[in-house]
Point group: C2
Chain length 394, copies 2
């Protein structure tokens, strides 16, 4: 490897977006920003760098090994934000804490996680999302789910499924069996990873009755249409689990009104990898992509961690994952417009640049030649750069 | 300070953009992205994190103490990008190296410098810019200057001045006096900082004749209209300095054609703080702001450092600085649209959400109430959030 090959490398898990990719990214982000604004969500922008103490407020410590960390000049630990919900909760609990509730906020941001990369998940990636703070209603949950679905529809995706769960249903079941916290965490992690073999091994370690084990074994398999809710009611003994199911039924009913219920499946094994969730959780999948395009849910305790108690719900869409899904479904966003390549004979630059300005004022995309060219050279360049039309000033 | 005050802090030199600021930022960025695209510039997006070796290729080592640095898992040094020209040169010299020249590229990105903050300059800040690669013509330089001016005009700024210099003019003068490299660097730094006292002290250390010192003393003062060029020709003895002035005259003539010459002043003391510049350099100022809104110039050697020789020119606009200038000139960008607040009586949520969807389809910005409200509560909320209109479903 030569010296200049080394400096041409980029770090593990990062990527360049070349012109067509960057154009698609901008189009997606603009579409989503406009949509979020039209539902009354205000965009905010937070620093890429935060104090590690801030980012680990909720349960961020679980993800701390995956954060990019460094020190400021006073030796306080900084980190690149690993998600956007925590920074937005920080802003809501500080500079926006006197605003009338609810707060409806949105963001389109880069986030960072140092981990093994996989298709659709890099160490630096982009998310677009909303946070609906100050309401604990099923209406708020249904609104964010409907908005996520509308966002995906606006990107052009034709085929996706919303998997809806409720962490309190599982928490209630765990409570019912009086499992200790460590075991609850392990079992939930196995369920989250759909690791049925691991789950089985964990259940073997417990002193649970056979019927209880059987029930926990069935939990991750509880997915499908409305019938799943009825099955779940049969299992749910505690008040907590039953309330969770009532909440899901209420959200589902509202999603029928929004016209997105057809894309919803109940999946009571959905837990999500952030343990700040306290109620409804959801993930969106498309065929042929083994990871969610979107994840979200209710997190009613995070703002109180920041000193300003307030229920909240929201979601994040993965920009690169949407791009990948569109590509796999053969649906590309509209591409870069290239209208006119404007070239000129020697001595005609001034005339050419006036003409270029004139066309641009008419709304055309115009590239001006860098120097005088022959008509032949100009035609080659026009073709090479895929301009619709050549205008030659001679 | 309480525990939750600490986690509510953000790192030195970073900021949150609250809704109105974030909306203005998005509007500015969208305006500039659309403008750059309409002149045939393709946006690209590069990683926020690069290898330090890449970022210090040009003369980045000068700025190394100001970079945010950390290590990857293989102990290679990473850094947050401190400017965008170097990363774009990297992409041009690698993944885009087989494209037909010229390459016209643009970006809208965050950049990072760990330094004393000042109004208008944070440790994390945003830049929008272009790079025109593959042409060494005055036409290319004039195009980027005209595009920068048009960008500022589109943001709504009414009053700004373009200060145009040429580093080869000063380099030629230094050559003429056979100053050693170290002294040249110190003198140029003093000129860049407009530190006339420091410049004087440096000149005292040299063995230059009195007339030569007098000439170097006059250099930073060479600014004004076209008359400055004539004065500069009197000083310029070397071929290098004269060619630099011919180049400036050619660029100025083209800027007359673009209709922006009225905003141009020659300023032969403009050097810029990146020493990768090799020709024309420019900065844009507005009254009452002591730092440039925009900086740019020609850098013909950087791509050859990356193994792909090619002349280039470009600029970067400072997004926050534009926001500050607009504010100081009393010119705000159009603000957040808030059309309809849609509230409902108990039991009317389904009807209300259908109505909200209907208005949104008509292009209205609609916020739906989080729960049933009385008409009175709804009116208070509408006023508090500055919605134009209240629609109440009873």
């Amino acid at each position: 490897m030569q010296a200049n090959d080394i400096v041409l490398e980029i770090p593990y898990g990062t990527r360049d977006f070349l012109p067509h990719e960057a154009a698609e990214k901008r189009q997606l982000e603009t579409t989503l920003a406009d949509l979020f604004a039209s539902w009354g969500y205000d965009e905010i922008v937070t620093p890429t760098i935060e104090y590690l103490d801030t980012l680990t407020m909720g349960n961020g410590h679980v993800l701390e090994p995956h954060m990019f960390k460094f020190f400021d000049k006073n030796n306080r630990t900084l980190a690149l934000r690993h998600e956007m919900t925590t920074p937005i909760a920080r802003v809501a609990a500080s500079r926006l804490k006197d605003e009338t509730l609810p707060l409806k906020l949105s963001y389109i941001s880069s986030v960072y996680r140092y981990e093994q990369t996989q298709t659709g998940r890099q160490c630096e990636f982009y998310q677009a999302g909303v946070e609906f703070m100050g309401s604990g209603t099923a209406a708020a949950d249904a609104e964010v789910i409907a908005l996520a679905a509308e966002g995906l529809r606006r990107t052009g995706l034709q085929n996706f499924q919303i998997c809806l769960g409720q962490v309190d249903f599982i928490n209630g079941i765990m409570q019912q069996f009086q499992l200790d916290d460590a075991m609850q965490t392990k079992i939930k992690a196995a369920m989250e990873q759909r690791n049925l073999v691991g789950l089985e091994a964990l259940l073997e370690q417990t002193t649970l009755a056979k019927s209880a084990r059987e029930l926990l074994r069935r939990l991750p398999l509880l997915h499908g249409g409305e019938a799943v809710l009825a099955q779940a009611y049969d299992i749910a003994v505690t008040e907590q689990s039953r309330r969770a199911l009532d909440n899901l039924a209420a959200i589902y009913h509202l999603l029928e009104e929004y016209g997105v219920a057809g894309q919803v499946q109940f999946d009571l094994g959905v837990i999500r990898d952030f343990n700040y969730y306290t109620g409804m959780v959801f993930e969106v999948y498309t065929p042929g992509l083994g990871f969610p395009l979107c994840g979200g849910g209710r997190y009613d305790h995070m703002l109180s961690d920041f000193g300003s108690a307030c229920p909240a719900t929201g979601f994040a869409l993965g920009i690169e994952r949407i791009m990948l899904s569109l590509e796999r479904q053969g649906l590309r966003m509209p591409q870069i417009r290239k209208d006119i390549y404007l070239a000129y004979a020697p001595g005609k630059l001034a005339a050419a640049l006036h003409k270029a300005q004139e066309y641009r004022q008419q709304g055309q995309v115009v590239e001006l030649a860098p120097a005088a060219q022959s008509e032949r050279e100009a035609a080659d360049y026009q073709t090479g750069k895929a301009y619709q039309k050549l205008v030659y000033i001679s």
